[in-house]
């Protein structure tokens, strides 16, 4: 394997920025690709080279492996990092990249293929001795699925065989809802993956989503970097992740880690990957699926272990041996990540688009932002709504929560609606602070905008009234006097008038 010197980043948004930064910090050149909507995107501006690959729709650009490989050859790139989403778990693309004589910065295509079909993945893991949630095959008819659900007992989870990211996933609590859930899951799976096969899994209540990050080289060395807890979800999509988990102790960490490492070795895995598990209230854990790529939430693991996962992926793809042994990996401190989405928490997470006309990014000790936006950037409707990730590191979980709260308070995004207020309220929730969370937390144990500080209510009322008053005055007086960038109200205004 040749030394890498120029990497094509086959992605956009914050993860493309993350990878470009890693390249620059290793002294590599980065090559960006972009759709028409993304000409001004930060990954394009930050990379050393940038090439257009087509219209805004991802199917015409970021999903066009052929165009991307052409750009890699034209630009002289010697490797491709796919990020997450788009082509990251497309084994055919990985093979095409390698066939073109380029390094694939990810796991072997055969591992992607084995783990890509969720049912095959379950069989592979079962053979490797990994405990599984009870579930069905994916080739059953609706009637067979109904019978299987009856057998395993409700609640059950309908899942897309080709799935990921919560797409085509439905919780079902009562037999009479199953047929409709299967219908809508098939529809969503078809739309998202072009494959409408679904299967059932027993839905474990009060469960936590715990996953193990692994890292392996091309010489059979595999280690784990501890766990992440990702139980705060909406529509089966993660909103908040943390490392470590409030309920995983060192013994459980080593046990789950050892199983994840064994499972990865069973499929000759290398590069970065993640084993997802559910953990029930008695701390039994069951394999859910494996993500054969870098994950959105990888930074929390980086913060507590000090390992730069993206740089390690680049080193591994250069044919280097893993720089760490299992005993080198120590979890130190506590890290939390909040996904900053352009969505409205008041209207069931309706996405928001628009130009960023004001932006203050939180900084200071222990704060990291992995962002795909900047002042003046436009959020378009073509891609998902994640604009940035806010990550903090604290000595303890308590400090991390307080630090996240102050960082959220500092995050000012004007031009689109964001879920920052939802995160602030979550950080203030006693239940979240106590770590008493599970995958149904947002739906069952939390209500947005539930109660408010009476003093804040009064301030909000007065502030709105002053703005309304000022508009009324302006309407009457028109443009009296020069426009000042700041407008003053209240006492000070009164004082100014007396002084004039």
């Amino acid at each position: 394997m040749p030394m890498l010197k120029k990497i094509l980043v086959a992605n956009r948004g914050e993860i493309a920025v993350r990878i470009v930064r890693a390249c620059q910090e290793l002294g590599y050149d980065a090559v960006a690709v972009y759709s028409e909507a993304d000409r001004m995107a930060p990954h394009v501006r930050m990379a050393q080279q940038a090439y257009p690959i087509g219209p805004s729709q991802a199917t015409e650009s970021y999903l066009r492996g052929d165009k991307i490989i052409d750009v890699a050859k034209k630009s002289g790139a010697d490797g491709i990092h796919p990020g997450y989403g788009f082509l990251a778990e497309n084994a055919d693309f990985a093979e095409a990249v390698m066939d073109a004589g380029l390094a694939w910065i990810g796991p072997p295509p055969i591992a992607i293929r084995l783990m890509g079909d969720k049912v095959v993945a379950r069989e592979t893991m079962a053979a490797a001795g990994v405990p599984l949630v009870p579930g069905t095959d994916e080739n059953l008819t609706d009637d067979e699925l109904l019978a299987a659900a009856e057998q395993m007992g409700y609640p059950v989870l309908v899942k897309a065989a080709a799935g990921g990211g919560g797409k085509g996933m439905r919780n079902v609590y009562r037999p009479e809802d199953l047929t409709e859930a299967i219908r809508t899951a098939r529809r969503e799976a078809k739309a998202s993956f072009g494959d409408d096969r679904v299967y059932l899994e027993k839905f474990i209540e009060n469960a936590r989503h715990i996953e193990i990050q692994i890292l392996g080289d091309e010489y059979g060395n595999v280690i784990h970097l501890g766990e992440r807890e990702c139980s705060i979800q909406r529509r089966h999509q993660k909103l908040i992740e943390e490392a470590p988990s409030p309920v995983v102790d060192e013994a459980l960490r080593q046990k789950m880690g050892a199983i994840a490492v064994e499972a990865a070795k069973a499929v000759n895995y290398h590069s970065a990957g993640t084993m997802e598990f559910v953990l029930d209230k008695d701390k039994n854990f069951y394999f859910l699926e494996m993500n054969t790529r870098l994950q959105v939430e990888h930074p929390v693991t980086e913060m507590v272990t000090g390992v730069d996962i993206v740089k390690e992926m680049l080193r591994i793809a250069s044919g280097r041996k893993l720089r760490y042994e299992q005993s080198d990996i120590q979890v130190k401190g506590w890290s939390i990540e909040c996904r900053i989405l352009a969505e409205d928490p008041r209207t069931n997470f309706m996405p928001s688009i628009g130009r960023i006309i004001g932006l203050t990014t939180p900084t200071g000790p222990g704060v990291r932002v992995d962002s795909g936006i900047y002042f003046g950037f436009e959020i378009t409707p073509y891609y998902d709504s994640m604009m940035a990730k806010l990550i903090v590191l604290g000595e303890t979980r308590g400090e991390a929560v307080l630090r996240m709260r102050r960082a959220l308070e500092e995050f000012r995004i004007t031009g689109v609606t964001t879920i920052v207020p939802l995160h602030s309220q979550l950080m203030n929730s006693a239940r979240f602070q106590a770590g008493a969370i599970d995958t149904m937390f947002l739906e069952r144990h939390f209500k947005f905008n539930q109660k408010s500080n009476p003093e804040h209510t009064r301030i909000a009322a007065v502030a709105a009234t002053l703005v309304a008053h000022q508009r009324k005055q302006q309407a009457i007086l028109l443009h009296q006097g020069g426009a000042s960038p700041w407008r003053l109200y209240g006492r000070r205004e009164a004082l100014d008038r007396r002084l004039r």
């Binding site: 688009i353 602030s424 909000a460 209240g490 006492r491 008038r497 007396r498």
Partner: protein
């Protein structure tokens, strides 16, 4: 000038006199409020307490964000309110409701038909945009009046998808 300001289930009487003095329910407050460069943010210092306040206005409702809490505020000046002889609060739901697409997308499903009675919160249309399926709910009870789009339609931002009228009470 005297204002009646409604926030949640509270009503405050706020008076701003010609000297710029402000009273809330008769009590004088000391407030300074300055607008930021990005125009939706204000720095407020009220009796020594400092707050950043975000304010967006639409359809006569101010949406105020403060320390992670979101408030909806309606401000009416007393004279206008008296002249209009309004008795109902400003939040009372009457007239036609228009459901627009807030961004470009593809209609996945229309869950209702014209003439159908709906309850507040019923899902009326599902729109796919930004890789997500977004459910639109009836903001209040009524009757579906016109459905302008069908499943599979591509819609632009602000396309009217359907309207809901007062229904039975019409």
């Amino acid at each position: 000038m005297k204002y009646i300001t409604t926030i949640g289930d509270e009503q405050l009487t706020i008076d701003i006199n010609h000297a710029g003095e402000i009273t809330v329910n008769g009590e004088i407050i000391n407030i300074e409020m300055l607008q930021m460069q990005d125009t939706t943010m204000y720095s407020v210092i009220i009796d020594g307490e400092s707050h950043d306040v975000r304010m967006n206005e639409g359809d006569g409702v101010y949406v105020v964000e403060l320390s992670g809490e979101i408030f909806e505020v309606v401000v009416e000046d007393e004279r206008t309110r008296r002249l209009a002889g309004l008795k109902a609060g400003p939040g009372a739901a009457t007239g036609e409701v228009i459901i627009k697409a807030p961004m470009p997308g593809v209609v996945v499903e229309i869950c209702v038909i014209e003439g159908q009675e709906v309850e507040q919160g019923d899902i009326v249309v599902i729109l796919e945009s930004m890789k997500m399926q977004n459910e639109f709910k009836a903001p209040r009870a009524g009757q579906v009046h016109i459905v302008r789009v069908a499943a599979g339609d591509k819609v632009d931002q602000n396309t009217i998808m359907l309207t809901i009228t007062d229904g039975a009470t019409d």
